[in-house]
């Protein structure tokens, strides 16, 4: 039988439900807070065990708190995910059918792109061709905004990417639905969407931006770790790994992504 959950575990789980995803440093602070609130013993190095207790109890419902890495900065996060696809899970009422279709089209475009992005123009265009129900441009913009607010997509200057939460939950799905398109990072061997590709057409390996930054750190003349060709990309800087900061800025930026830049480019 599974170990029973204490009140501290339940509080941790509820916070995960409300937030969907939290950074490692947030998880540590939350772990402490939950234990202290309910007078449970707090062992700072036992976060993983603490989460394991929750996961064992969640298993019958096909829910899980899973760890994953942000493609933006390589920081670790915890996300509460659903692991099953059934008649029941498809009754989710968060999005309408055409909104879900738009989301899948977004994934198609992102997976099909070299650097893991989909431009807002392409997305706005595919909204006219939705099979479930067509969407107007304004509506599409609104729905895309909602995906960003709900932390399924990230948006930067009119470019949409899959969020850390989305990748953590959808990784298996992506591997099975896009077997020909999905790429693994040559350095960390995890799935990679946003990254750099070796320019040598016979090689073409892909590496996360943050893995590139770490791998080539301090090298003046970077060469591909696979084919040894010159690595013809700008080497990104290593991001300061202040995880809580990175996620909080994303949150605060989420509600009102400016559409002014996208408008300008489409204006005529």
């Amino acid at each position: 039988m599974s170990r029973p959950m204490g009140e501290s575990h339940k509080r941790f789980l509820q916070t995960m439900m409300s937030n969907g995803i939290i950074s490692t440093s947030q998880a540590k602070a939350l772990h402490r807070h939950c234990c202290e609130t309910h007078g449970a013993h707090f062992a700072p190095d036992r976060l993983e065990e603490f989460i394991d207790v929750i996961n064992t109890n969640l298993q019958p419902m096909f829910m899980h708190i899973r760890k994953g890495t942000s493609e933006e900065d390589g920081a670790q996060h915890y996300a509460l995910v659903n692991m099953a696809e059934t008649d029941i899970t498809r009754m989710s009422s968060d999005y309408a059918d055409n909104e879900l279709e738009l989301f899948r089209k977004t994934m198609d475009l992102i997976l099909d792109s070299e650097n893991g992005t989909a431009s807002s123009t392409d997305l706005l265009n595919c909204a006219d061709r939705l099979q479930t129900k067509k969407m107007k441009k304004k509506e599409t913009e609104h729905v895309l905004n909602k995906f960003v607010q709900d932390k399924w997509l990230n948006e930067k200057q009119g470019e949409y990417t899959l969020s850390t939460r989305c990748i953590i939950e959808m990784e298996q799905y992506i591997r099975s639905v896009y077997p020909d398109l999905v790429r693994m990072c040559h350095v960390c061997h995890n799935i990679v969407l946003q990254g750099q590709v070796c320019e040598n057409p016979d090689c073409g390996i892909k590496i996360h931006y943050y893995c590139v930054a770490r791998y080539f750190k301090g090298r003046i003349n970077p060469h591909c770790p696979s084919c040894n060709d010159f690595w013809a990309h700008e080497i990104p800087e290593i991001q300061p790994e202040s995880q809580s900061q990175s996620s909080s800025t994303r949150e605060s930026a989420a509600p009102t992504p400016s559409t002014s830049s996208t408008r300008r480019s489409r204006r005529h």
Binding site: Q14, T15, M17, S18, G20, M63, L80, V81, N82, M83, A84, E85, T86, T89, R90, S92, D94, Y95, L100, E101, F103, R104, D108, L111, D112, E114, T117, S119, S120, T121, L124, N125, D128, K137, D150, W152, Q157, G158, E159, C166, E169, M170, Q172, Y173, S176, V177, Y178, D180, L181, P201, S261, T262, R263, R264, S265, R266, R267, H268
Partner: protein, 351 residues
Amino acid sequence: MSESKRKTSRSIQEEAANGAVGRSRPERSADTGEEDEGAGPSGIHEEDDDPAQRREIRSQYRDLINSVQQNREDMLNPANNKLFDVLEEANKLFANVRQAREAALDAQLLVLATDLGREKASQLHAEGSAFDPSAFAEHLLSFMGLNRLEEEEDGDANLGGYMPPDAWQRLSKKAQYCFKTAPSFHYMFGSFLAEPPPPRQRVERQRKAPSKEAKRIMPTQLKKMEESHQEATEKEVERILGCLRSYFADDPQSPILYYEFVVDPNSFSRTVENIFHTSFLIRDGLARVYLNSNKLPCIAPVEEGELEPGGANARHQCVISISPATWKEIIEAFDIKEALIPSPKVLSQEG
């Protein structure tokens, strides 16, 4: 039952039913006036049946009923005596009431007043303080961070001041401690049927993967307006303006069709880039787009000095979208054989 009596009782009912509406007083008294003539009640003293006086009484009753209904909160306010004043007023009116129709109105007013009186009494007799929604609203406004100093002198003193955009968020943060709301669980995986994407997509990718040149020609990320790109954009915009001006100079009489100008029949991505860059010409007032007699959009350069003052107001915006399919349709429809805007030099060298 006598004819007249039936008539009277019917009109009492009518009054009772209509009375509460009581807003369109002038019309009402007009059409009741007609009825009065027909009613010609028997057995009623002459002096009791002066239609003008009766109309006047009814009208005053309706005014009173109206004012009670509309100032309900005011009437209930423990700080004043308005309800009592209303009843005084009604007593005065009732002194002149002789007939059932007026009496019915009086009854209606009394029902209203008793209702209010009961509510007011329950307030007064309740131990402790009474709750005043207006005061509540004022306290909430302060809590939500209303800045009363700004725009205060603007006519409506009630709605002056500046509310910060996070006002409701601020209230919610505190108010949610009253709620035992369960958090809800949201997910993306499993909310739709897992299906592979249409095969067309994969074919496309395989086709374009080997050709490096093809990749280069793909529309550069139009949204990225970083410094280096910005400069490139400006150059490209100038180059296109040059093209437009030279075509126009060649034959100033014949209009240049917009689509013929921007569409590159050999490259969809070049077409998109042309549309993008041309849009800057229009935004900056260096070119204008208008419809010709066939309602087709045409483009022409704007001569220096031709720039109309306050032009920004007269300008219209529109968004156009173009897909490979519509691009092909346009090429066919306009029978476009070659690009009016040649590819930029860098690309033509490589190609």
